[in-house]
């Protein structure tokens, strides 16, 4: 398992942990039922605050990616295809928004955009 904390990025540390673990789960690098490192262990290994680590885990649990079993630890939750699909759709939407913004700033019409996308598809 690989988690990289970047102090230079403006992103809060708990978000960095949250995002990286979430990505690993979505990508299947962490499989269902797998145990996550303990909050304290991870915090001490990464030399970051225990509270921050706990916050990341709490967020993961709230979002349904992990389950905490009292006294035992934190486990990757049952993979929910629907959830992953939703997650991906959300991400696509974010990217599309970016594209729309950029397109607007250089005056591209929707038709041109669609054309571009189809060309992209053909190349693949």
């Amino acid at each position: 398992m690989e988690i990289i904390i970047k102090n230079s990025s403006g992103q809060p540390i708990y978000e960095q942990i949250y995002a990286q673990i979430k990505d690993m789960i979505l990508a299947g690098d962490l499989s269902e039922g797998e145990m996550l490192p303990s909050i304290r262990g991870l915090a001490k290994d990464l030399r970051i605050s225990v509270i921050t680590t706990k916050r990341a885990y709490d967020e993961l649990e709230r979002a349904g990616y992990v389950n905490t079993v009292g006294g035992k630890g934190c486990f990757v939750a049952e993979t929910n295809r629907e959830l992953i699909r939703e997650e991906h759709l959300k991400e696509i939407e974010i990217h599309m928004n970016e594209i729309a913004k950029l397109a607007k700033s250089c005056g591209l019409t929707n038709d041109t955009l669609i054309e571009m996308f189809q060309l992209l598809d053909l190349e693949e």
Binding site: G10, P12, Y14, R47, I48, S49, I51
Partner: protein
């Protein structure tokens, strides 16, 4: 449970006074107590351990009121390292072991000697031949060898070279791997503490100016540098502190209150504290 709990604590020494001090350290966490020399850090630690008597307020250490009889037992569970206060200097590591064996019920000889070896301290060497760093290390070895649940360290890293300091901070980091282990560490140098703390408290002239989760501070605040004209567009409520160097304005800003599209830089804990401390005076 809180490892340390101070509520409305006051203490006056002539012109110096600790005023209405509220300080908590949740179990399992590391609290960095920062403040300039003479801000009241050592007094606060004295108050905690009942070595200095408070005038008002309530103090609990490891859940026990420090004026109660049971507090004598709590002292067994607290490891102490003080600045410039050591064992009599004609003693050596071996002597200290013997003395501590009769001092702490839970004294662990093996642990102590293991730390001495790890720290590169010869058992036979007299204390007065130690460097400052070694004296600190011996005190730390003692503090870690009687199964303490709380470490209280007053300026334990000051005057140490960076490598030794890092080594020692690592030990404190490891110490808190246990869920019921907590650390209170004071220093006048913020960067010494920044690395390992969960919470930061800033003491200024006997008053606690700041007591916050470290990462929250950095999430809340950031540094923004703008030309003087541009700076006028920033909403007042978003600015926590300003420094004008004649060429541009450097501001400590609250990230949330700032409209997007500004490049906010990450602020160091030291910068945040400096800005906030000065803000108090304005």
């Amino acid at each position: 449970m809180n490892a340390i709990e101070m509520k409305h604590v006051s203490k006056t020494y002539g012109s110096f006074a600790i005023k209405d001090l509220n300080l908590t350290l949740p179990e399992g966490c590391i609290l960095g107590l920062v403040g300039e020399n003479g801000a009241g850090k050592s007094t606060t630690i004295g108050l905690l351990m009942h070595a200095v008597l408070k005038e008002a307020g309530e103090i609990k250490v490891l859940g026990v009121d420090n004026t109660s009889k049971e507090f004598q037992d709590v002292r067994e569970d607290v490891g102490i390292v003080l600045d410039e206060a050591y064992f009599p200097e004609v003693l050596n590591g071996r002597d200290v072991n013997k003395i501590m064996k009769y001092t702490y019920k839970n004294w662990e000889e093996e642990t102590f000697f293991r730390y001495l070896t790890q720290f590169g301290i010869e058992r036979q060497k007299m204390f007065k031949e130690y460097s400052k760093g070694m004296k600190m290390k011996l005190a730390i070895a003692v503090a870690l060898s009687h199964r303490a649940r709380l470490l209280i360290l007053d300026e334990a890293t000051s005057g140490l070279d960076p490598i030794v300091r890092d080594e020692i901070l690592d030990i404190f980091n490891e110490f808190t791997r246990e869920e019921n282990h907590s650390v209170l560490i004071s220093s006048h140098i913020v960067s010494d503490l920044e690395k390992i703390c969960d919470y930061v408290a800033f003491l200024h002239q006997g008053t606690l100016v700041l007591h916050e989760e470290k990462d929250r501070l950095q999430e809340t605040y950031g540094i923004l540098r703008l030309g003087r004209k541009e700076a006028e567009d920033i909403p007042k409520e978003a600015i926590a502190g300003v420094r004008d160097n004649g060429y541009y304005k450097e501001m400590l800003v609250k990230r949330r209150l700032l409209p997007g599209n500004y490049t906010i830089e990450r602020a160091g804990i030291e910068e945040i504290i400096l800005y906030l401390a000065r803000g108090e005076q304005i």
